[in-house]
C-alpha cells in the first residue's frame, strides 16, 4: 500500500495485535475442553499479523514472523504427522492419542497428550497457509 497508514491505526495495532496473538494461544490451549482449538486459534493469530501488515508494512509483518509462512505450513503438517507417530512406539494405530498426567503442586494435575501436539500442528499450518496467501496478496 502506497499511502502512509494513519497514526491511529498504527497505535491501535501495537496494542491489539499482541493481544490477538495471546488470545490465539489461549484458544489453542483451551480448545480441547471449551470452544476454540488450533483452527480458530490459527486464524486469530493470522489476523494479528494481518493487522501489522495494515498498520505498518508487509516487511514489518514478515520480520515479526521471523520465518517464511510457507515454512510454517511444512512444520505444522510435520508436527501433526509426528504427533501421530508417537502411538506407533506403543504398538497402537497411527494417530491414537497418547496421554500422560503431569502432577502439579497442590491438588491439581495437568493432562497432556499427543492430540494437543496435533492441534499445535493444525495451528501452525493454518497460520502459515493464511499468511502465505495474505502476504502474496499484499506484495505489490
Amino acid at each position: 500500500m502506497s499511502t502512509l497508514p494513519s497514526l491511529i491505526l498504527r497505535t491501535a495495532v501495537r496494542w491489539i495485535a499482541p493481544l490477538l496473538l495471546l488470545f490465539s494461544l489461549f484458544l489453542l490451549l483451551r480448545g480441547h475442553n471449551e470452544p476454540g482449538g488450533g483452527f480458530s486459534g490459527g486464524l486469530i493469530a493470522a489476523t494479528g499479523f494481518a493487522l501489522f501488515t495494515f498498520g505498518y508494512s508487509l516487511e514489518t509483518a514478515r520480520r515479526l514472523l521471523r520465518v517464511p509462512p510457507s515454512t510454517l505450513v511444512a512444520v505444522g503438517i510435520g508436527v501433526a504427522f509426528a504427533s501421530g507417530l508417537v502411538s506407533l512406539v506403543r504398538g497402537e494405530p497411527l494417530l491414537t492419542g497418547v496421554w500422560f498426567t503431569l502432577p502439579l503442586p497442590g491438588e491439581t494435575s495437568l493432562e497432556l497428550g499427543t492430540p494437543l501436539l496435533f492441534d499445535v500442528g493444525v495451528y501452525l499450518t493454518v497460520i502459515g497457509a493464511a499468511l502465505t496467501m495474505l502476504f502474496a496478496f499484499a506484495e505489490e
Binding site: G37, G38, S40, F54, S70, M133
Partner: protein
C-alpha cells in the same frame, strides 16, 4: 526390520543438515549405517533357515484394514542384502565420485530415500505399504536422474522415467486393489495363500495383466525398455545402484513374489517367457553397437532383466538359476557400472573407442577392470559362471529349443559387453590424461567383483541363500541340492563355451558393429527427428502418447477450466442440485412424511433471519463493491450469531474468523480488482437467481428431511458419550478434529497447505507470464 527402516528414515531426514557440516565425509556415515544394516540382515539368515520367515507388524490404519507389516523371507532377505550391501559400497564410492559437489545434500537425501523405499518395498507384506514404497523408489529415481537439472536431457530423462514407471505404478495399484477386493485382505501372504484353482477367473486374470504391466515398466521390459538407457543421465553411483542392481529389479521382485500364486495361471508361462525373451534379445541387440560406456551397460542390463523374467516364466524348474543369476548379476553389473564411472573419472572420457592404453598408464585401474571382466563375462570360477551353467542346464532340459536359443543369444550380447570392457586396456587410442581419484572409486567395484568371484568358490555359503530364495519363489518347495562349480562335460558347458567364444569374436570386431550402429542411428539417444532404426523406436510411442495427453489436456481445459469463475460456480451448484435431487428421489426420501418441528421463535431469531435475508439482497443489488462487501460481512456475522445461539460455538467462532479474514484479503486485493460494473444481461441474472433459489430450496428441504429420519442411534450421542473417556476432552468438536477423525484433519491441513502454495504460485509466477 522396523528398526532398519526407522534408522534409514532418521538418516534421510538428518542428511541435509549433516551434509552441510560433513560435506563429502557424510558418505562414510551413510556407508557405515548401510553396512550395519547389511550385517543385521546377514545375521538373520541362520534364523530364516531354522524357523522360516519372520514377521513384524504395527497396526497402522486398522480401521482401513491396512497395517505396517514387514516379512523377511529368503527372497526379501537376498534383496535386503543387495540393497544394504551395494548401498554401503555406493556410498563409499560417492565420496570419491562426487567429491565436494555443491548439490551434495540433495543427492544424499534422494539416495537415502531410495534405500529406505527399496528396503521397505521388499520387506512389505501389506500391499498398500508395498505400493507406497514402490512409488517412492520412482520419486527418488526422478530426483537422481535429474540431478543435473541444467542439462535439458537430464530433465527430459527424469520425467520420462517417472512417467513410464508411474503409469505402470497406476496399473499396479489397480491390480493390487482388485486382488485385495477379490480375496478380502491387504496382506500379501494371505493373497498368495488363496485358492489356486480360482487363478484363471476373469478378475484374477485382469489382476495378473495389471501386475505384469507394473512390473514390466519398472524393470524396463520391452516395449518400455527405453527409459533405462536414458536414465544414464544420472551420476554413475546412481546408475550402478538404482538402474542396475536394485530398483530396476523391483519388477522382477514383484513377479517372483507373486509367482507362488500366479504361476498356476495359464498365461504365466507364455506371457513371461515371451516378454523376457524379447527383452533379452532387444537388449542384447541394442547393447553391442553402443559407444557410450554407460549406455552399453544399460542395454546389457535390459537384456539381463529380460533373462530374469524369462527364467521366472519357466517356473519351478528355473527357480534355482533365477536366484543365482539375480545375485550374480547384481554383483557384477553393479561392479561394471562403478568401474565405468571410475574410468570416466580417471580419464574424463566415456566413449569406448576414445579410451586406450589404460594398462600402461593406470595399472591399478586396469587390474580392477580385469577382475570385473572376469566376473561379468561369467568365466569360471565366478558366481556368474555357476549361474549361467544352471540356466543353460535347466533350459536345455526343460524349455523349448526356441527359448533356449533366445536365452543363449541374450547371454552372447551380455557377455560381449563384458569383453568390450577389455578394450580400454589394450586398444590404441591417445594416451589418457590420468586423474587419480579417491580410493573408494576402485575399492567399491573391486569388492563387488571379488564377491562375485568368491561366491563361485564358496558355494557352500551361497547354497542356503539360493535355497531360501527358491523356497519363496516356488511357494515352499525345497528344490536346491548342493551347488557345484564343475558339472562335468555336458550340454551346458558346451553352450557356455560357445557363448564366451562368440562374444569374444563380436567384441574383437566391435568397431564394425559400432559403425553399423551409427548408420542405423542406434548409438545416440533418440533425436528430435528419428532416422535409421530410430524410426521404429518404442520411445516414439511414448512421445506420441505424451503429445496426445497434452492435446487432451488442452481440449478439456478449454472446456472445463475456461477461466470464468461464474461459470465454475454455476456448474458446481447446478451439478450438486441435480445429483442430490436424483439420489434423494432414488432413495425414496421425497415421499417421507416430514414432521416440521415447531420451535418457539423469539425476537432475536426474527431479527437475525430478517438481517440475513436483507443483507443478501443488498449484496446482490449493491452498485458499489464496498457496499456489497459490507453486506456480505453482515450476512456472515448474523449467521455466526445464529450458530452461537443454537449451540455451535466452535462453528460460530470459525465463521466470524473466516469472515474477518475474507474481508482482510479483499482489502489487499481491492486495488487490483477491475471496475465494479454490471456485466451480465438481465436474462443471465434471472437465470442465476433461479439456480440460486433452487439450491437454497434444496438445502432447506434437505435440512427438514433430517428431522423426518429417525436413526436408531445418533452419531452425536456416541461422540457426547465417548469424548471425555476416550479422547480426554469435553469439546466434542475438537475431539473429533484432533482425535477421532485426526486422519481426516491431517488430510485437510495438507490440502490447506497445498492451496496456499497454489495461491502463491499463481500470484507470483502467473503475473510474469501475463506480461511477457
Amino acid at each position: 526390520m522396523l528398526v532398519s527402516l526407522a534408522a534409514l528414515t532418521l538418516l534421510t531426514i538428518a542428511a541435509p543438515l549433516a551434509v552441510s557440516r560433513l560435506r563429502q565425509r557424510f558418505g562414510y556415515v551413510a556407508a557405515l549405517v548401510s553396512l550395519a544394516l547389511f550385517g543385521w540382515f546377514a545375521a538373520q539368515f541362520p534364523t530364516l533357515l531354522r524357523d522360516g520367515p519372520t514377521v513384524e507388524t504395527i497396526a497402522w490404519l486398522p480401521s482401513l484394514g491396512s497395517s505396517l507389516t514387514l516379512r523377511l523371507d529368503g527372497l526379501s532377505g537376498l534383496f535386503a542384502l543387495l540393497i544394504t550391501g551395494i548401498g554401503a559400497l555406493v556410498a563409499l564410492y560417492t565420496v570419491g565420485y562426487l567429491e565436494d559437489h555443491p548439490r551434495l545434500a540433495r543427492f544424499w537425501t534422494a539416495l537415502l530415500l531410495f534405500e529406505l523405499a527399496m528396503l521397505g518395498l521388499v520387506l512389505a507384506d501389506d500391499i498398500l505399504v508395498l505400493f507406497v514404497f514402490w512409488e517412492l523408489t520412482g520419486v527418488a529415481s526422478f530426483f537422481l536422474i535429474g540431478f543435473s537439472p541444467e542439462r535439458p536431457r537430464a530433465r527430459a530423462s527424469a520425467q520420462q522415467a517417472l512417467v513410464v514407471t508411474g503409469a505402470g505404478g497406476l496399473a499396479l495399484l489397480a491390480g493390487l486393489l482388485l486382488w485385495a477386493r477379490e480375496v478380502g485382505s491387504f496382506r500379501l501372504s494371505d493373497l498368495l495363500a488363496a485358492d489356486h484353482l480360482l487363478v484363471d477367473s476373469p478378475v484374477l486374470t485382469a489382476v495378473f495383466v495389471l501386475l505384469l504391466v507394473g512390473a514390466a515398466t519398472k524393470s524396463a521390459q520391452f516395449p518400455f525398455h527405453f527409459w533405462l538407457p536414458n536414465a544414464m543421465e544420472a551420476p554413475t553411483p546412481v546408475s550402478a545402484y538404482l538402474h542396475s542392481a536394485t530398483m530396476v529389479k523391483a519388477g522382477v521382485y514383484l513377479l517372483a513374489r507373486v509367482s507362488p500364486f500366479f504361476a498356476a495361471h495359464s498365461w504365466w508361462e507364455p506371457a513371461l517367457v515371451l516378454l523376457g525373451a524379447v527383452t533379452a534379445l532387444v537388449g542384447a541387440f541394442l547393447a553391442v553397437p553402443q559407444r557410450d560406456l554407460k549406455r552399453l551397460l544399460a542395454y546389457s542390463t535390459v537384456s539381463a532383466l529380460g533373462t530374469l523374467v524369462l527364467l521366472l516364466g519357466l517356473g519351478v524348474d528355473a527357480s534355482k538359476p533365477f536366484a543365482l543369476f539375480l545375485l550374480a548379476h547384481a554383483l557384477y553389473k553393479g561392479a561394471a557400472f562403478l568401474l565405468a564411472g571410475a574410468i570416466e573419472h580417471t580419464t574424463g572420457e566415456r566413449a569406448l573407442d576414445r579410451i586406450g592404453q589404460l594398462g600402461k598408464h593406470a595399472p591399478s585401474l586396469a587390474v580392477s577392470t580385469l577382475l570385473v571382466v572376469l566376473a561379468a563375462a561369467g568365466l569360471p570360477p565366478t558366481l556368474g559362471f555357476v549361474a549361467k551353467e544352471a540356466m543353460l542346464e535347466t533350459a536345455s532340459e526343460h524349455a523349448a529349443p526356441l527359448v533356449t536359443g533366445a536365452l543363449v543369444l541374450g547371454l552372447i550380447g551380455q557377455t560381449t559387453v563384458a569383453w568390450l570392457l577389455v578394450r580400454p586396456l589394450v586398444q590404441r587410442a591417445p594416451a589418457p590424461h590420468v586423474h587419480h581419484g579417491h580410493w573408494g572409486l576402485l575399492a567399491s567395484p573391486v569388492v563387488l567383483a571379488t564377491a562375485a568371484l568368491a561366491g563361485g568358490l564358496a558355494l557352500s555359503l551361497v547354497t542356503p541363500i539360493v535355497s531360501l530364495v527358491t523356497e519363496a519363489v516356488t511357494g515352499g518347495l525345497k528344490t536346491v541340492s548342493a551347488l557345484a562349480l564343475w558339472h562335468g562335460f555336458n550340454v551346458a558347458l558346451a553352450l557356455s563355451a560357445v557363448i564366451l567364444l562368440a562374444a569374444a569374436l563380436l567384441a574383437f570386431g566391435w568397431r564394425r558393429w559400432a559403425q553399423l550402429g551409427d548408420r542405423l542411428a542406434l548409438t545416440e539417444p533418440l533425436g528430435e527427428r528419428p532416422t535409421g532404426l530410430g524410426r521404429f523406436a518404442c520411445e516414439r510411442g511414448y512421445r506420441a502418447g505424451l503429445d496426445a495427453l497434452a492435446w487432451f489436456a488442452n481440449a478439456q481445459t478449454r472446456i472445463l477450466q475456461n477461466g470464468y469463475l461464474r461459470v465454475y460456480i454455476t456448474v458446481i451448484i447446478a451439478t450438486t442440485v441435480v445429483l442430490v435431487a436424483a439420489s434423494a428421489a432414488a432413495a425414496g426420501l421425497l415421499s417421507l412424511e416430514t414432521q416440521i418441528v415447531r420451535t418457539p421463535i423469539d425476537l432475536l431469531d426474527t431479527v437475525l433471519v430478517i438481517t440475513i435475508v436483507a443483507s443478501s439482497l443488498v449484496a446482490v443489488r449493491a452498485s458499489e463493491r464496498l457496499a456489497a462487501l459490507a453486506a456480505l460481512g453482515i450476512l456472515g456475522f448474523s449467521l455466526a450469531l445464529l450458530y452461537a445461539r443454537y449451540g455451535a460455538p466452535d462453528l460460530a467462532i470459525t465463521q466470524v474468523l473466516v469472515d474477518t479474514l475474507t474481508v482482510v484479503l479483499l482489502v489487499f486485493a481491492f486495488y487490483r480488482l477491475p471496475r465494479y460494473a454490471r456485466l451480465s444481461s438481465t436474462a443471465t441474472r434471472l437465470r442465476d437467481a433461479g439456480i440460486a433459489l433452487v439450491f437454497g430450496l434444496m438445502m432447506s428441504g434437505f435440512t427438514l428431511l433430517v428431522f423426518a429420519i429417525e436413526p436408531a442411534t445418533r452419531i452425536s450421542t456416541f461422540f457426547n458419550e465417548a469424548a471425555y473417556p476416550a479422547a480426554h476432552g469435553r469439546n466434542v468438536v475438537n475431539t473429533i478434529l484432533v482425535d477421532f477423525r485426526a486422519l481426516d484433519t491431517l488430510g485437510e491441513i495438507t490440502v490447506l497447505g497445498l492451496a496456499a502454495i497454489g495461491v502463491l504460485t499463481l500470484l507470483r509466477y502467473g503475473r510474469g507470464e501475463r506480461t511477457s
